[in-house]
């Protein structure tokens, strides 16, 4: 039986033989672009950052001056989100609150990166007693509710302020990063390219930060993106309980706490920060999920 000649489509004939070579980051960006939820989240977060930046130089009204509007004023054209129990403009306070949230989220992750990544790299690369000690510390920290640790730390550190809050939150979050980096390092250190660089006489620091770290970067970025909302939520919790950012600096958490008291007569006071907080947390979570899918397509949730 004679084989039928197979008709080759014209576009395949013209196409190059190999798939176009793209780097990890270009590839990840392409995959992320296809994730509509992550894109919407990125747009929202970009706007939020812009609002926070604008709030540095300009807010519609002063955030600490009382009585710029009638107390409990409902939303109006002069005050789009109304005014709170002291007659302060809620939109202005929300804008500065965005600043606080973002600063806490980003700075906490910066501290977590600075502490967790080196610890994880060293423990995973050298193993032995360093690894045993680190793993023990991680398991101890996981056993105690983080909010209690943070609250005690704020008490011990004395006078509350943004820096204390960042330290306290980072102290309850560093082990996520250390554990992740350690795990990545444990599997990467057995790969040939690490052996090759060791054989060619590279210094340990060069191996750790020049070879291991760049290859573990994907999961670390995802962890940071998911760590930011966790830190923001944490700050909101603390401020809500009255142990966070000291007044009159507006934080979404303390704004919600103030609003709870007057929920009966003016629900908009509590709803504005609560909705802003929920949207922001959701956006970071969607972006984090999207990044995870984009950076590591093999891993399924």
């Amino acid at each position: 039986m004679a084989t039928q000649p197979i008709a080759i489509p014209a576009e395949l004939v013209a196409a190059p033989l190999a798939r176009e070579q793209v780097g990890l980051w270009t590839d990840a960006w392409r995959r992320l672009r296809r994730n509509r939820l992550a894109l919407v989240a990125t747009v929202y977060l970009t706007l939020l950052v812009l609002v926070a930046l604008v709030a540095i130089v300009h807010t519609p009204y002063s955030t600490s001056h009382q009585g710029v509007a009638p107390t409990y004023a409902p939303p109006s054209s002069a005050h789009p989100l109304g005014a709170d129990a002291s007659g302060r403009d809620i939109l202005s306070r929300l804008m500065v609150g965005a600043q606080i949230s973002l600063v806490v989220g980003l700075m906490t992750q910066a501290v977590v990166l600075a502490v967790g990544v080196p610890l994880g790299l060293i423990a995973g690369y050298f193993r032995g007693w360093i690894d045993t000690v680190l793993s023990f510390m991680i398991s101890v920290f996981y056993g105690i509710p983080d909010i209690l640790v943070a609250m005690i730390l704020i008490v011990i550190l004395g006078k509350p302020g943004l820096d204390k809050i960042i330290i306290a939150i980072a102290a309850t979050r560093w082990m996520d990063m250390a554990r992740l980096t350690r795990g990545q390092t444990l599997s990467l250190r057995e790969r040939e390219f690490i052996e090759a660089s060791r054989a060619s006489g590279a210094r340990t620091a060069k191996i750790l930060f020049g070879h291991l770290l760049p290859n573990a970067l994907g999961p670390i970025i995802v962890q940071v993106t998911l760590g930011i909302p966790a830190a923001i939520l944490f700050e909101a919790f603390l401020s809500f309980l009255g142990i966070g950012v000291p007044p009159p600096t507006p934080s979404w958490g303390s704004m919600a706490a103030e609003g709870i008291h007057s929920m009966r007569i003016a629900p908009h006071i509590v709803l504005a920060p609560a909705i802003a907080l929920s949207l922001t947390l959701m956006a970071f979570n969607f972006l984090g999920d999207g990044l995870r899918d984009a950076l590591d397509p093999r891993q399924k949730r």
């Binding site: 996981y142 056993g143 105690i144 509710p145 983080d146 909010i147 209690l148 609250m151 005690i152 008490v155 011990i156 004395g158 909302p229 939520l233 909101a236 919790f237 809500f240 309980l241 009255g242 142990i243 919600a256 709870i260 929920m263 009966r264 629900p267 509590v270 709803l271 609560a274 907080l277 929920s278 947390l281 959701m282 979570n285």
Partner: protein
Amino acid sequence: MTGTLAYVGQRTLLIAFTALAVSSIVFIGIHQLPGDAFVSERLRPSQQAALLHQFGLDRPLLVQYRDFISNLVLRGDLGESIQSRGTKITPLVLREATVSAEVGGAALVFTIGLGLMFGVFGAMRQNSWIDYLLTTLSVVGYSMPSFVIATFLLLVFGIWLENLTGGSFFYGIGWTGTYGNLAEISVPAFALGFPYASFVARLTRASMLEIIRQDYIRTARAKGLVEQIVIIRHALRNALIPVITILGPLVIGIITGSVVIENIFGIPGLGKEFVTSILNRDYNITVGVFTGYAALIGLANLAVDLLYPVLDPRIRY
């Protein structure tokens, strides 16, 4: 049986040691700032010194610590409140721990019950509109902080429901007596459990989807069993295993969340006392509540571990 008893004894000892270690760290940390306890009272220096002396806060830290530990170990005595003088802390913490355990237990029932129900429903009707609805709801639930959920619940049950029924039926903040009643517990327990219920639902849905495609489920159906029995007795039992593995972190999460929820709903538990004591700088209570928390978490984890062999007969101690 004796194996289990020995295991429980061993674990209880470990819990006691952990609680002791945790309270030691907190005690020493907090007593770095002895004068702070009376800052809000605006006392003259001589009066403050007298008060510090009365509570033994002017002695060397190590002496204070030695007394604290020996009182705690020998008599289970956590000392006295600094602010409301004469109040013993041990009975206070014990009572509040049972209140917190009550709310946490109710939240756990909501978490597991709702989570399993949503998860199984979603898996049974995979890719239907109800599945999409439940999946979306669980993402939303997981992203919403518990105090936001609590706020919405208060708005709905406390205010809109009151307006709707002309003030005859609504949910108020705070509750009657020490332990409240069933209606009063349900709303905070729901707020506390909902975020974790979404998590359980996601997990259950995924593991159910995997299991209902297995051969033994087909066998069960082929035997002619009713669908409900296949799902509940055969599929769900095995789908439970991943859910069981997250019970430990779940319990810790619920205890963490209870700090906020108790403060919103005015529940007289450990979480409310903890925040109040920090705001009042009543550090003796802070140390006591922390010790109570360490014990509560240890006991909750022990209960979870004892549950494993009941649900999964392959595990034995």
